[in-house]
Amino acid sequence: MINVTDLTKTFGKNQVLKGITTTVERGEVVALIGPSGSGKSTFLRCLNMLETPTSGAITIDGTAITDPKTDIARVRQRIGMVFQHFHLFPHMTAIDNITFAPTQVKGMPLEEARKKAKELLARVGLSDKADSYPSRLSGGQKQRVAIARSLAMEPDIMLFDEPTSALDPEMVKEVLNVIRSLADSGMTMLIVTHEMKFAREAADTIYFLDDGKLVERTKPEQFFTKPQSERAARFLEQVL
């Protein structure tokens, strides 16, 4: 369970998050929606401390990750993150990308890590690409390898930061399918996305952010049919 209390983040003079308070239950799938610059990505990046919050508190399963005394690296091992631009390690093959963290961080034996990596590659439909370098993969394939890389650490929570925004349209589906199957398996997930159809189908909860505030937090059906705020209504008008 993730508890966020009055979270703010300021870059220089620009306050990006203006006090966000919310709770994400175990197994809940949250889609974060909102205009660009609304603070969606910053919020997500605060959840694994890639951005240090200016004020406020975040606890994950009782651990206060905003506490400076917390060993944040340990917490991060339990939180997978998938980036818009994949960030695969270009000097390693697909399978080495996946086995790197389990072997180097958790000390898992290489044999075991490779076996697991192969299972993960099968799960994202890339069994034949194990020994390919990232430069030989398409955008969609790269993102699926990146998801497998995060899953290899067996996280409790997965964060997706616009996972399909950098993809050619024909590759969006293959990535969304992987994420959807992950959602169905009961993983706790937060997804920043512009794919409204996907959000509506896959998410349990929609967070609508605007101007650094969590404006709406509702079920998808209600959000997409009867948005409560005027800002959300206007946003939906523009994107649908």
């Binding site: 694994n48 890639l50 690296a73 340990r74 991060r76 091992q77 939180i79 997978g80 993150m81 980036f83 631009h85 960030h87 695969l88 390690f89 270009p90 000097h91 390693m92 093959t93 790197f100 963290a101 180097q104 961080v105 370098y133 990232p134 430069s135 990146a146 890389r149 995060s150 650490m153």
Partner: protein, 499 residues
């Protein structure tokens, strides 16, 4: 986060110290003159108190008095050596010879590294203030060497001419007294020959023995002896002040003059004339015959030196680049100041300071090769730290974030994720640095490391021919650079296989 960074820095510092010590251990092997009879043992001999052994310091680049027998086994031979051998055997000592730079001989006497010095050294008043001299064993005459086509025969004829002399030599002092002459001071005898041949000077003042060799090797030159001037030019054996050896040596010298031994040795070295070859061409590579193996051994020294200083520079440069991006102010300041100083002063100056100042400041007699490796490594690190810093910063920020998000610790992230990618970015720059190091390594010859350049100098001083050895080693340097770059190209291809 910060604690992690500190850990890395401690680790780096320890690595640096270990490396430093390792160099200290490894380098004396090839240090100084590998061709000397036993230069390495010179330093500990007096301390050990082995009474039966005397260490003699000499600068073996002055035939026929002392030179390296580069054509044979690299032993040091010459008139001074024969006299020293005779005297020490008469007195019941064993003789050890330590080859070093002429400028360092007096200091070596004063610090007790050698027991006496024989190196065609004139007993000047200045030197007498610091050391004691034996009686003269040879009196050299000043000699004018000039072109056969424009011979100069007397001191008066030198008025209005350009006259060359070896810097710091007795002839240099004499040349200053020649009226109306325009004086040009050069570092080496072969330089004088070259300047004569190319017409930049009209005459060179050298001593008789050197003049004989010069004219033998260069048929276009002629010599004229000047009348032997007082006792000022006499060669004598130098001892530390108050040394008890002086009277012993003087005794034997007197005997030798009496029984003709001195005359015999002198004759041996001066009558040993070279065959008059017909060197009509300006350049004649046959003079290198017999020296090739000796010169080629310099390749090993040059490569070893380049490798050590490149590795040292890379490691230390990496540490400095980490300092620069550490976000810890004092470390950043240190690294920036360091880079500024080492980039802002000439390498040759740094090298000379490290070699000559270390014994004075730290009381540690730093071996030449180690001083050179240190100077080049320190200097190259300054340049590399900027290159590496750029390489690290050029790695996509997302790589760092991806590693952090996976919970990878800082050190592993740097070593396994960031450096390999940075290395790929900066490989061409690193190769450039290595090529530069390889070529600049020729600077180390000034402190007596027997690299390629130094060996060429030795051959030049023996043969009294200037160009051939230089052209030969230039070709070797070029081939080495070609090999290095082709090797680097292979490495680059390997690193780029993931593209």
């Amino acid at each position: 986060m910060n604690r992690k960074k500190l850990k890395v820095i401690y680790f780096s510092l320890i690595a640096f110290v270990v490396l430093f010590l390792a160099i200290g251990q490894a380098l004396p092997l090839g240090a100084n003159d590998s061709r000397t009879v036993s230069a390495a043992s010179a330093a500990d001999a007096p301390a050990e108190g082995q009474k039966k052994k005397l260490v003699m310091g000499t600068s073996a680049d002055y035939p026929p008095y002392e030179s390296v027998d580069a054509k044979n086994n690299g032993e040091i031979i010459g008139l001074d050596i024969d006299i020293a051998k005779y005297i020490t055997s008469q007195l019941g000592y064993e003789l050890e010879i330590a080859n070093m730079d002429f400028n360092g001989l007096i200091a070596a006497l004063q610090t007790g590294r050698v027991d006496f010095v024989m190196s065609a050294m004139s007993a000047t008043d200045e030197r007498r203030q610091n050391v004691d001299f034996s009686d003269f064993y040879y009196a050299a005459r000043n000699t004018i060497v000039s072109k056969k086509s424009a011979p100069l025969e007397s001191e008066e004829s030198l008025a209005g001419k350009r006259v060359g002399a070896q810097l710091g030599s007795t002839q240099d002092l004499y040349a200053e007294t020649i009226e109306g002459a325009e004086l040009k001071k050069l570092n080496k005898i072969p330089d004088l020959i070259q300047e004569l041949n190319s017409g930049r000077i009209d005459a060179a003042i050298v001593e008789d023995a050197v003049a004989v060799e010069m004219t033998n090797a260069n048929p276009g030159l002629t010599m004229h002896f000047l009348p032997a001037d007082s006792a000022e030019n006499g060669y004598a054996i130098a001892f530390p002040k108050e040394s008890a050896l002086v009277s012993d040596f003087n005794g034997v010298l007197a005997e030798m003059a009496e029984n003709g031994k001195l005359e015999e040795i002198t004759q041996k070295w001066f009558s040993d004339e070279k065959e008059q070859s017909n060197r009509l061409l300006n350049i004649d590579f046959s003079v290198l015959q017999g020296y090739i193996p000796y010169l080629l051994k310099g390749v090993y020294v040059t490569l070893l030196f380049t490798l050590v200083s490149a590795l040292f520079g890379l490691v230390w440069g990496t540490i400095l680049s980490l300092f620069k991006i550490s976000g810890i102010k004092p470390l950043e300041w240190f690294a920036t100041a360091y880079t500024s100083v080492f980039r802002g002063t000439p390498l040759l100056v740094q090298l000379t300071i490290i070699y000559f100042a270390t014994p004075q400041l730290f009381n540690y007699d730093i071996p030449a090769l180690m001083a050179a490796g240190l100077a080049f490594g320190l200097n190259s690190a300054a340049y590399l730290s900027e290159t590496i810093r750029g390489g690290i910063l050029a790695v996509d920020k997302g790589q760092r974030e991806a590693a952090i998000a996976l919970g990878v610790p800082y050190r592993k992230m740097m070593i396994r994720i960031i450096f390999p990618q940075a290395l790929r970015n900066i490989l061409p720059a690193l190769v450039n640095e290595c090529v530069a190091l390889l070529k600049e390594s020729s600077l180390v010859s000034v402190i007596g490391v027997t690299d390629l350049m130094r060996r060429a100098d030795v051959v030049r001083s023996i043969e009294f021919r200037s160009l051939e050895a230089l052209l030969f080693i230039a070709a070797i340097y070029y081939v080495l650079v070609l090999i290095l770059t082709s090797f680097a190209r292979k490495l680059e291809r390997r690193l780029r296989r993931s593209d």
